[in-house]
């Protein structure tokens, strides 16, 4: 973590909470938790609400679909921490690790439905080029995706365009697979609040 305040600048109660979580999970305190729990009135409280709505709020996309979008956007942003974290959640949500790895390695040949593929194509362009045009949106709608589903996918993209940048700028430590597995279980059980 590049800023010492994000490692050790939390209040006594938060540090006690971190110690409890470490004891319970037998894993180090996740860096993302350190971020959202630092001066939470400035950023973390609102960002958790945004992320929970995007990832667990009502949507025609499944939780697995949205976690896959999160992993995919993270890959477009080259954010190692978030790719690994949300690959683990998507794989667990789908009960299908191969599907997630298939999308991340080659979107065009992955075994997924055309509406999801068209949506991910649009998110790929938006994330890489920072803009999309009317033809891109036509392509998604023509694949059978509703306007609301596109809005929901864009909300996921918003959340991870934010978090990817923060994870990289603050240089989140990338832990081993066991920590991401524990995180995936937690996020599927409890969400992001």
């Amino acid at each position: 973590m590049r800023l010492a305040i994000l490692d050790s600048g939390h209040g006594f109660g938060t540090k006690a909470l971190f110690a409890f979580i470490r004891a319970l999970s037998c894993q180090p305190t996740p860096e993302v938790l350190k971020l959202v729990m630092y001066r939470p009135d400035f950023f973390g409280t609102h960002m958790k609400e945004v992320t929970h709505e995007a990832m667990r709020g009502p949507s025609a996309w499944s939780v697995g679909d949205r976690e896959l979008m999160a992993a995919f956007v993270s890959k477009m942003n080259d954010c190692e921490f978030c790719i690994k974290a949300h690959t683990a959640v998507a794989a667990r949500a789908y009960h299908d690790e191969a599907k997630v790895f298939g999308v991340l390695s080659d979107l065009e040949t992955a075994v997924i439905g055309e509406p999801l593929r068209a949506t991910l194509r649009m998110l790929r362009k938006l994330t890489r080029e920072h803009a999309v045009n009317v033809d891109d949106m036509h392509g998604v709608l023509a694949a059978g995706v509703s306007v609301e589903q596109i809005e929901d996918a864009l909300a996921v993209c918003f959340a991870f365009n934010t978090m990817n940048r923060l994870a990289d700028a603050f240089e989140f430590l990338v832990p081993g697979p066991k920590t991401f597995e524990a995180g995936a279980k937690f996020l599927l059980a409890r969400g992001y609040r």
């Binding site: 305040i5 001066r39 609400e49 945004v50 009502p58 306007v147 940048r165």
Partner: protein, 110 residues
């Protein structure tokens, strides 16, 4: 998913208009990636375009310019949320244009 808009708006209002260690002008500049001077300009520019290119030196330089860690924290948060907001707003505006021209309505499945 209308709640997401309200939650997003509350986030942006808080980081830009609420109390902070960095000035509101500096937080706004980071959010907009505009009107900044070095070394914050380079830090925010990298964060906006390719955040994985941010280095220890970028953060150290911001601190050496007189900014506290709390101020750097706020600037980085504002820059990240700012770029994510621009992409989100641009895409939603494009979607609106296409939906109106094509006669799609929210919730209208194809």
């Amino acid at each position: 998913m209308s709640d997401i808009r309200q939650a997003g708006k509350a986030l942006v209002v808080r980081i830009l208009e609420g109390d902070g260690e960095a000035s509101r002008a500096l937080r706004r500049g980071a959010f907009d990636n505009a009107g900044l001077v070095e070394p914050v300009r380079t830090l925010v520019q990298k964060l906006t375009i390719h955040a994985d290119k941010v280095t220890d030196e970028d953060i150290t330089a911001a601190g050496a310019s007189g900014l506290s860690q709390d101020q750097i924290f706020e600037i980085v948060v504002c820059a990240a949320v700012g770029e994510a907001t621009r992409q989100y707003d641009t895409a939603l505006a494009t979607l609106r244009v296409v939906a109106e021209r094509s006669g799609y309505a929210p919730g209208d499945p194809r």
